[in-house]
């Protein structure tokens, strides 16, 4: 018996958004009288962190600290329309809508500040800590709390904004497949190092090296979450997962987590990840959607590494010990 080591490669791209029916999302934003900005949405956070990322987009655009932003989302009575969270569209579509809404609100904010400070709105800037100040004369400033109060009680203005992102409907040409389905493409290249036990057929992923191009890392710690969780899911798909393990046969279907196998904490490889940024012209601060892509390249990288290790070409997922052993048997000339 031997443990055979191999290395495999895969490189992929992934579309942000998938439009065939028109792909809109809206955002509304308004300031309370104390200068907190409430972002109203109907978008869903599945755990990928949408609420946090769109709050960052709002804070950046308004020029205010994160503490001044609240995200109120996923209530169809209070939030404007969003197509939903799928197709790696959340950050891109909703982020863009929030930026547009925040930009409109910022304009009002600066206009009211201009009246308060008796200057031209064009001469104002935000300092990122909550003050709106005169460029080059920073002692002439007003805090957003005072400004929001003044807007409401003195100037009779709402500091608010409307945002919308729409990728227009596009129908594929049936004869050729010509279409414009997505907004931009993210990229990944994975190198997997595996060890195959030629007696048990068990594949262990030892290392995974991933280079990702994601447009812009809006929140690097959350990017790390997406890439590590995604790489794990890709590895899980590759080695374990199937609701019908003998597809197309319908039997042997797992019913719970004791039967539906996935890698546990003991099975995770050493990850080495690097990020490249080539901002997308149409992305929020250049960001592309990466939540889905991160699970893709590991699968073929592992398949290719298994071949490199032991000469077995697995063209059927998942790469179970049984399939590895049958492949090895075939290489050795055994047949059943």
């Amino acid at each position: 018996m031997a443990r055979l080591r191999g290395r495999g490669y895969a490189s992929v791209n992934y579309p942000t958004g998938m439009n065939l029916g028109g792909d809109p999302s809206q955002a509304l934003i308004h300031a309370t009288t104390t200068g907190t900005f409430v972002v109203s949405l109907s978008s869903v956070d599945l755990g990928q962190g949408l609420k946090t990322v769109v709050a960052q987009c709002a804070a950046e655009t308004l020029g205010l600290p994160m503490e001044n932003i609240l995200v109120d989302t996923a209530d169809t009575d209070t939030g404007p329309h969003c197509m939903g969270t799928f197709a790696s569209r959340g950050t891109h579509r909703v982020g863009n809508a929030v930026i547009m809404a925040a930009a409109e609100a910022r304009e009002v904010m600066l206009a009211v500040a201009a009246e308060e400070l008796e200057v031209d709105a064009g001469d104002l800037e935000t300092d990122g800590t909550g003050y709106i100040q005169v460029k080059g004369a920073q002692e002439r400033r007003i805090h957003i709390t005072d400004l929001a109060l003044a807007a409401h009680f003195t100037h009779g203005r709402t500091i608010s904004g409307r945002g919308m992102f729409l990728k227009e409907k596009n129908d594929p040409v049936p004869e050729t497949g010509e279409m414009d389905p997505d907004s931009c493409q993210a990229h990944a290249c994975t190198v997997a190092v595996v060890e195959v036990d030629d007696e048990t057929g068990v594949v262990e992923v030892l290392e995974m090296h991933n280079a990702y191009e994601i447009g812009r890392a809006l929140n690097p710690a959350m990017v790390a979450q997406q890439v590590e969780g995604g790489a794990w899911m890709g590895m899980s798909h590759a080695l374990f997962e199937a609701t019908e393990p003998y597809y197309p046969a319908r039997d042997h279907g797992p019913r719970d987590f004791t039967e539906y196998l996935m890698p546990g904490a003991a099975d995770i490889p050493a990850y080495h990840n690097a990020i490249l940024e080539r901002p997308a012209g149409n992305g929020p601060f250049g960001a592309k959607g990466i939540g889905e892509m991160t699970a893709n390249a590991p699968i073929p990288a592992i398949a290719n590494a298994i071949f490199d290790a032991c000469g077995v070409r697995l063209d059927t997922m998942p790469f179970t010990p049984e399939r590895v052993l049958r492949g090895l048997d075939e290489l050795r000339g055994y047949h059943d």
Binding site: M222, Q225, W232, T258, G264, A265
Partner: protein
């Protein structure tokens, strides 16, 4: 069979409620007591999202018939924070970005609490083993393991600091230990 009255000490408080025979502890916590932190990911002992401490041991509360543990003491995630302060495991999960959707988090944290109570200085392998019954579909587990190891380190540091204070107090008779929130107090609670 008729429902019966069950007594539990939950998060240091006596609670009394009615339960039909065979009602899972998880359902009693959630439906009778309104403690929603423990989650029902499978109701059959395969995911760990329902983990709570029963007399200090981690159990999958979906598998425990509540009438069989009458009189026991139960700790849920709601009972972990001290006053308003997060404990070390909670802080480590928060600061370590060890949560994504958060549905596994309660079970993970309770499993970690049980581990650190009996083994304040676990190895990575021991942490991995401790959470082997807890499923997470989002994180890939790495950040969770790191957070538990980090929590252990934080707790040891805090305990050491508390012990130092006690030493100083014993030697010099200073009596302001209790004024230091969450140190001597926490250390004493864990040692008891």
């Amino acid at each position: 069979m008729a429902s019966q009255v069950v007594n539990l000490r939950v998060n240091e408080r006596s609670r009394e409620f009615l339960a039909a025979p065979g009602t899972p502890l998880l359902s009693s916590l959630r439906d009778a007591l309104g403690l929603m932190a423990a989650k029902r990911g499978c109701a059959q002992g395969s995911c760990g999202t329902c983990t709570v401490l029963l007399d200090g041991r981690p159990v999958m509360s979906c598998l425990v018939a509540v009438e069989t543990v009458d009189g026991a003491s139960v700790r849920t995630l709601e009972g972990v924070a001290r006053g308003g302060d997060l404990d070390e495991v909670q802080s480590a999960f928060l600061e370590g970005f060890a949560t994504q959707c958060g549905f596994c988090t309660a079970g993970m944290i309770m499993t970690a609490e049980a581990l650190l109570d009996r083994n304040p200085d676990p190895t990575r392998a021991e942490v991995v083993e401790a959470i082997s019954g807890n499923v997470c579909r989002c994180t890939g587990y790495g950040p969770i393991v790191d957070a538990i190891l980090d929590a252990a380190a934080r707790r040891r540091k805090e305990d050491a600091a508390a012990r130092r204070k006690e030493d100083i107090a014993a030697r010099w008779g200073t009596a302001d230990i209790a004024a230091t929130p969450g140190t001597a107090d926490a250390a004493a609670r864990r040692r008891s």
